[in-house]
Symmetry: none
Subunit: 243 residues, 2 copies
DNA sequence: AAGGATACAAGTATAGTACAAGTGCGTGAG
DNA sequence: CTCACGCACTTGTACTATACTTGTATCCTT
């Protein structure tokens, strides 16, 4: 059996990439360098690299070079994703039950964030196999929510219903003691700890468009962050003191 | 591996800015000075500075110069560093008090993660202006901690003491009720909620090298994640159910 | 069919240069 | 003392040139 050179070279390169020999921001040696190093022609090196590119392991830009293509976001999303995606992936029946749906005068901090007096407020309960695992409230400006109906919200995720595209988001996670009403909804004893997650989703231009509050019972949930690059500390990044 | 010059220069400048080398008012050397200092052309220096400007770390005015732009809003929105860096940046006196230091037989889950029976265990209390805000335990394999002394750990951050470089990390955040001993240390009432953060830091090759547990009182701390790109959900990403 | 050798096109990073335009400051005229 | 001007220095921007990179095609050998 004849040895297919570019395949073996691809395997060796795949190993070197997996070993983290090449840092994230920087590039792999040039095709010419690799050609010299492996004693193979540039064409062969190229075929090997194309194999890795097909796997999404590396990518190249003309005139720049080859680089490790670990999009950290996709990486962590691929592993984690939203909790609903994990649930459906593992065969658990996921369900949304609408508790409240209506236009209200915005609470103070909501009005401040969204810069809108009247907002659409949607409160709902998320269930996995019939057991509640999250109580969610979403607020959005009146003009944005005007075209939404209660059945829309029950049927599809919120982001799918909005016509305008969304940009980045900032998410804060804190711990708290469950409120009396949430204790009933989530079926946990009074005094239980909960994870409280507040998220501000903005338009691509940066204008806040959605404010959401998620409350999870602590005993069933935890938050995972994948930090691909070396940070200069072992302390949790992102943690901050509040007043 | 080819080095992209302006990126490495940007990293060095980012470090110098983070170290507070430049005061708030005036500050950075001129592009010409930096060009001479780094032996790079002005164009390259400029590209490095533009990178930092994109992060909101510095800004420039024509005819005036480059200066540190500590926009507190963008600071929290952009890449926020460790909590210690934030504290020192805002002038709060940060302090580490060592509670325990010694080699112990590893608890079960620690032994499993680090693949080591005997480990160095360091327990400490972090204080901001004399008030405790975190109780931290760090475990590392025996051979890695052999060269460390108690005063070393008290003096410098852990990551600075290790000779070997660190790679990525995975961080999980959960809520819990404070333990009796932590309640005393953190000066919070029994039954208070805490944020519990567990972090596994690995070598570049992927071998787990450090396991750390951080416990924060919930009323003073929260966790912030900045999600730059649009995600296809408004649900908190990274949240997962645990058994 | 796999690999080698070569040539060329096109993109990128950097160096170097030049000039426009804004800022700060000293100096001299009034 | 006050004001206007000039000068030195800064960033902003444009351009050329060069070296190096990937992208692509062609022809040849085994």
């Amino acid at each position: 059996m004849r040895e297919i050179r570019y395949r073996t070279i691809a395997e060796q390169l795949r190993q070197r990439v997996a070993d983290g020999e090449f840092a994230l921001g920087r590039t792999l040696p040039s095709e010419a360098d690799l050609s010299r190093h492996y004693g193979a022609s540039r064409v062969t090196i190229r075929r090997a690299l194309e194999l890795l590119r097909a796997d999404g392991l590396v990518d190249a830009r003309q005139g720049f070079g080859w680089f490790v293509a670990v999009d950290p976001l996709r990486q962590s999303l691929g592993r984690l994703g939203t909790i609903e995606a994990q649930l459906t992936a593992s065969g658990v029946h996921s369900e949304r039950r609408i508790l409240d749906f209506g236009f209200v005068t915005a609470p103070a901090h909501v009005a401040m964030v969204l810069a809108s007096d009247t907002v659409l407020e949607v409160r709902r309960l998320n269930l996995a196999d019939g057991e509640p695992f999250a109580r969610v409230t979403v607020w959005c400006p009146e003009e944005l929510g005007a075209s939404l109906s209660r059945s829309d919200v029950e049927r599809a995720p919120f982001y799918e219903l909005l016509s305008e595209p969304l940009g980045g988001a900032v998410q804060t996670i804190g711990a708290a003691v469950v409120s009396a009403s949430d204790a009933v909804l989530l079926k946990v004893p009074l005094g239980s700890p909960v994870l409280r997650c507040e998220r501000i989703t903005a338009s691509p231009a940066g204008r806040p468009m959605l404010l959401s509050e998620h409350v999870f019972p602590a005993h069933r949930t935890e938050f995972v962050v994948d930090l691909p690059m070396a940070e200069r500390s072992i302390a949790p990044t992102g943690m901050r003191l509040v007043d």
